[in-house]
Amino acid sequence: MVKLTVNGKEVEVSAGTTILHAAAAAGIPIPTFCYNPRMDPAGSCRICAVELEDSKRTVMGCITQVVEGMKVLTESPKVHEARKTNLELLLLHHPLDCPICDCGGECPLQNMSFSYGGADSRFESHRNDELEDMKSEVLVFNSNRCILCGKCVRVCDEIQDVHAIGFINRGFDTVIGPPLGKKLDCEFCGDCLEVCPTGAITDRFVRYQFRPWQMEKTETTCTSCGSGCRMIVDTESEAIVRISAREGLGPNEGSICVVGRFGYNAVQNKSRLESPHFKRAQRLVPGNWEEILPKVAAQLASISSSGEGRVAGLISSQLPIEDAFLFQRLMRQTLKSNFIDSDARQGLMNMAIPLVSATGSLRPLVDHEDIIAADMIVVLGADPAAESNITGLAIKKAVRKNKAALYLIHGHDVSISTRAREVIRLLPGSEESFLTMLREALSSGTTSLSPEGRQRFQGLGASPEAVDRLLSDLRASKRTVFITGRRFHRSDQGFGASMQLIRLMAERNMFASEGSGLFVLPESGNDLGVLMMGATAEWLPGLLDAANAEQRSVWETHWQTKLPSGGGGLREILAGIEAGEIRALVSFGVDPLTFLPDAAQIRKTLSKLELLVVVDMYQGPLADMAHYLLPAASPFERTGHVVSAEGFVQPLAPAMAPWGLALSESEIMLRLARHMGRALPFDDLASLSSEVFRIFPDLRPSTRNAPYFQGGTGEILLSVPRTQPPHKAQRESVLARVASFVKADLPATVSPASVSSSERPENSFVLTLSKSINHAGTRTLLDSNLMAIEGEGFLKVPRSWARKRKLKKGACVLVSTHHGRISLPIDPVAGLADGEVHYPLHFADARFMVLFPRHLSFNAQSGTQSGQAIDVTIEPIA
């Protein structure tokens, strides 16, 4: 510990602390431009100058470490003079075009100039008159306004690890921009836009359309993926103008991805539903709530009174936990049916069932801080940067800062591949065999693979040398984090692979060691919450087994009712409708016609329904069939809480007024129950929230961090509150359950796939669907900004294959299966598994779905739709 005085106030800080932090600890702010707590200090802007009292020198607060007995003055005539001179020098080239600059009004340079004596300069000013760089559709680079603090370059290097922009030229000619004067080509996270202290980098989508002081700011949570980013929504007269983050706010600490930052136009798309519709003479006609809801309620009541399990319900996993809780209670208690499902099943159930039976919790044992501290990270079938951007950042930081050993087991190269120690490319559907073999090799105790083992791994397409390194690292590692994602969960072998993975972790005693664990990447904002609230047929709220009468009775006594048994997920619902047992379907934002193949057959099945009620924001294929189509409020128009991948329970806040007559799903459910005469004991969403938090005290709202900066000139906050919320699962209770899980027999292991990659015919590939970083689901296709960034799907094919046929990006190829064919533009890329091609799932429309088999197949244990990887033949179009 080092003792020093700041402005006469004595503070004690640990050695190695900078003056800036020591002053912050003493409650004294120092202005900064180039400093950011998340990045290494650069000391380039010279505005944090402080005076050392004894030596009469001015030093930079952000880069000078404290020494014993140091006497620091943060405000003195000398400091003031130094800062003022510095500002004069900065303003020498800076054009005073604040009135037309989008940063004007929230510009730290502007604020500092005001507080240190305006823009008058003793020097002859020399304004730069460089033209703005308008090559990119997303960002505008204005080199005249740049003060060369380098924050944008550092955020791109150190936090995003993308290295898309840099300093060009030297001296007075230095400008910031993409290398070689090219068009900006990056992940478009917009973090450089966020950190820029001047208007040198501005947003092109809303260029000149706003002034910061006109906008109302609302702090809310993003529901596009499981990262649970806290963001600030800026609205002007009830329209979202832009979305930004605050340095340090939330688990994302001020970073948001392209979907969160620029994807706000989908909710204000003209195609959104404005009023409730009902079907008359095969057409949907607009009506009003007072007229339509009693009719829906009456029909639902009469159908549900004809017996148990006559009504089925689907709920979107982007809806908050309150809605999920209310949904399952409405379905089970009021409508007496356990035929309920969520689209979280498709993305997560293969992992969720084994995980819950093993650990009893869906919340992870590790969070991003553990990932950063881990010495080994194994990513299984995931593209963390695209699926859950902030997890991707944590992984990049772990590799960059702590030299963690990163292993990527995936079909194709993703953005983190370049940081991986080894990339093991597996064809889809071989995850279970791989993990089984890995587990056996680990438990065998030998240091390297046997020749037979090497051959078996080679048979899967995995390099034995890479597996050898993985095994030796796994043996040596103290803190290992496994990360699983979309491809792993959706694989045909996903269920078995998850069982094997948990067993492997239990055998290596990873559940017991602090800092080790499994981190599951959900596909949308509240997958975990929806499952925890029991919105699928398997589980009651609190992950109690719905098939178990004893566990059911817990809720039966609580709700004073009899709960239906049986029921099932999407597979059973479709079968029940086909058999005529299920007569009504209520869908809250789930459209099976968009993600299941053979829409014609499903349409035929659904046409047997007596009542189809669709609650959605947009009109889609399912909505066209609905008898009643009700407009839902977007996540930007409502309250509620969502559970992030880390287990944080974070609130949504209404930033704009409901679109037209749209109501939140929970409000629609409450009104329906009231019209049925079986009102549920909640008046509104607030009473529902308090009930959920009363029943589940560990689900009370939690988050990490608070903003780092205060004021407009980048003074760091006096103390950064790092909350320790109850977001992780309890290690003790998990351990107790895992022990009994391991003892239970696992299903027989599948023999390794016999198809060797060399046997594959030349033009034959396995086609998989992948998530693009620029989109989330299919809703974002309605977003003009994201479509400007990525507006078309390209089939990613091996570069060597394309080169041999002289095909360039954008050339069309004919993709055919036994079931249909389609022509797609290609994008030749390196780093694909042998014999694999992939296509962004967002652009997989009905035209694309013809490639898939006509019949639906589901995983027997988890009810997840399987067969998502198909064999295709690709031929160039002559």
Binding site: P95, L96, D97, E130, M134, K135, F210, Q214
Partner: protein, 182 residues
């Protein structure tokens, strides 16, 4: 006592009062027959606010919203955007000034960085509806075209003329040239 009695019977107070009246009979008249006779207003008179143009006819307003920000009566609304003809120039897509709310304080003219606003000597605008007094940018530009000399005089007398050529690379603010896109 006697003095009071004499005052009472000779009505001296009336005489004193009439003295003032009689004196004014021989003074110069100050009442002007307003609709028939027009007053000469001072150059600093704060009448209706007008939009100004550059000499080449381009409107000056850059849509910076500073007038909206400073307006104490919240009478101004600006919606800015990219200029449709001059690429990447900022301009006011919509500009409305509600003269029913305007208190004619002149803050907006002071705030304007490019002297796009000025006050004229026009004050006799009336309307039978409130909407008639909510002026659009076109109406204010027309007013500026009509009363150009008055608006120049206002800026000169209020010491705001030095920013006159700011749009052309001089003055306090400096707008770099417009890029042509890439």
């Amino acid at each position: 006592m006697l003095k009071k009695f004499l005052n009472t019977i000779f009505f001296t107070e009336i005489g004193q009062g009439l003295k003032l009246t009689l004196r004014h009979m021989f003074m110069k008249k100050v009442t002007s027959q307003y609709p028939r006779e027009k007053l000469v207003l001072a150059d600093g008179y704060r009448g209706f606010i007008a939009h100004r143009r550059y000499e080449n006819g381009v409107e000056r307003c850059v849509g910076c919203d500073l007038c909206e920000a400073i307006c104490p009566a919240k009478a101004i609304r600006v919606v800015s955007d990219i200029h449709p003809e001059i690429p990447d120039r900022r301009y006011a897509r919509e500009y409305t000034l509600d003269f029913t709310r305007c208190i004619f304080c002149g803050f907006c003219v002071v705030a304007c960085p490019v002297n796009a606003l000025s006050m004229t000597k026009e004050f006799a605008h009336s309307s039978f509806t409130r909407n008639g007094l909510i002026y659009s940018k076109e109406q204010m530009l027309a007013l500026g075209d009509r009363a150009g000399a008055d608006s120049d005089a206002y800026l000169k007398v209020r010491n705001m003329w030095e920013a006159e050529n700011s749009g052309k690379d001089e003055g306090y603010y400096h707008f770099p040239p417009i890029s042509l896109g890439g």
